[in-house]
């Protein structure tokens, strides 16, 4: 049972070990969606939402796997259950809250097989978090992901208007910006100790 405090977990996931900028998880949507500020914020919201769902699923599955002593089923059960639960939640959302569904839109299916979600489930299990710790971790990870996306989008929108050499435009420029952002986030190390 992990003894880490809630605030420490949240800061760790959001800033110190930001999922995108420190662990390289969720890079595909990060580069794909971060061109516009509006899509970035919606993606961040959708990701946080899916992370919460995935975190709960992972916790429950892990309890079951430990009970039946089948650790080798971890990968396959995590990915299948998370993918189908998000699908289910998407259907429920469509029925119960069409407004939220339209706001999150296409991003829900895009995120489901994303490394960030699966990585969250794996890390949370490896760290041995309890349920409330896991939820805090998911919230922190989602917040960090959203923050990185928004920062990236802001910079990229400005970059679009600047005079960037043809060769560097697009992914290469985004990678360099990401590298600088990552360096910036390194300054958060040691926070919350």
């Amino acid at each position: 049972m992990n003894e880490q405090g809630y605030w420490s977990i949240f800061l760790d996931a959001a800033l110190i070990n930001n999922f995108v900028l420190a662990y390289f998880l969720g890079i595909c949507p990060f580069f794909g969606v971060s061109a516009k500020l509006e899509t970035a914020t919606r993606m961040g919201g959708a990701a946080t939402f899916v992370m919460l769902v995935a975190s709960t699923c992972a916790y429950v599955i892990n309890m079951i796997l430990e009970a039946i002593n089948a650790p080798y089923l971890q990968i396959i059960s995590y990915i299948l259950v998370i993918a189908s639960t998000v699908q289910l939640v998407e259907m429920l959302l469509r029925k119960l809250s069409p407004a939220t569904f339209r706001a999150l839109g296409i991003f829900l299916p895009l995120i489901t097989t994303n490394c960030a979600i699966f990585g969250l489930a794996l890390f949370q299990t490896n760290k041995g978090y309890g349920f409330t710790q896991a939820i805090t971790y998911a919230l922190g990870a989602g917040a960090g992901f959203a923050l990185a996306l928004v920062l990236m989008a802001g910079v990229r929108e400005k970059l679009d208007l600047a005079d960037v050499p043809q060769l560097v435009k697009g992914t290469a420029a985004a990678l360099i910006v990401a590298g600088v952002l990552s360096m910036g986030f390194m300054g958060f190390a040691g926070l919350g100790r």
Binding site: L21, I76, T113, C115, G179
Partner: protein, 217 residues
């Protein structure tokens, strides 16, 4: 349906450069950046991914008439997850240190869009032989990309290659390169090189076309 003219060797070669997963298709970047801080890690990760690519491609191809259309993504995920689990245990059995170094990223191979993409786009529509070649080509191309990034990061960031010290005592390592930022920068660097080469190839092709047109007119 028109008969495909691509030769078997072409299936393999295309993954190395023309359709390179990391630099051209820009897929599977997460592990490319995360596990490439040393050359050995990059190679090990590349090898593991290639194994899953080939085995999953082979399985999907063998079962392609058996998997119903509606359930295909779920089936692919199931098959890929199985081989990833196998690779995970295999690496643990080979070396605990290597497993610790690669960490959770072995398990993360399962969400590598590259493998799902190849299963859907190629393996499900071709015979096992070609599927294996495609998987192998993509895997080797992926490994090359990871390896190049890894080499740069290790030499600049730790002053070693495969753990062997390259520089005399006084060399100040460029530590940023073994940190996450370095991953981004190294990849950006290689992407620029690749883009530049392709630019030149395109220009040369355009030149050749123009000269051909002038000669014809």
């Amino acid at each position: 349906m028109a008969l495909k003219k691509t030769s078997p060797t072409d299936e393999f070669i295309k993954g190395l450069w023309r359709d390179n997963p990391v630099f051209i298709q820009v897929l599977g970047m997460c592990p490319a950046l995360a596990v490439s801080n040393t050359a050995i890690n990059a190679l090990a990760m590349g090898a593991a991914t290639t194994f899953v690519l080939v085995m999953a491609g082979l399985s999907v191809s063998l079962m392609r008439n058996f998997i119903p259309r509606e359930a295909r993504i779920v089936s692919y995920i199931c098959i890929i997850a199985t081989f990833v689990t196998c690779v995970d245990y295999a690496i643990m059995a080979i070396s605990i240190e290597l497993h610790r170094a690669l960490g959770a990223f072995i398990a993360l191979i399962v969400v590598n869009c590259l493998i799902l993409g190849r299963s859907e786009a190629f393996a499900s529509k071709n015979n096992p032989g070609r599927a294996i070649l495609d998987g192998l080509g993509m895997g080797v191309g992926f490994t090359f990309a990871l390896f190049f990034i890894g080499v740069v990061r290790e030499i600049l960031g730790s002053g070693t290659l495969f753990g062997v010290e390259l520089f005399p005592e006084g060399f100040q390592t460029w530590t940023i390169f073994v940190l996450p930022s370095g991953g981004f920068f190294a990849m950006a660097g290689w992407l620029l090189v690749v883009n530049w080469i392709r630019q030149r190839q395109d220009d040369a092709a355009k030149q050749a076309e123009e000269t051909a047109r002038e000669a014809a007119s």
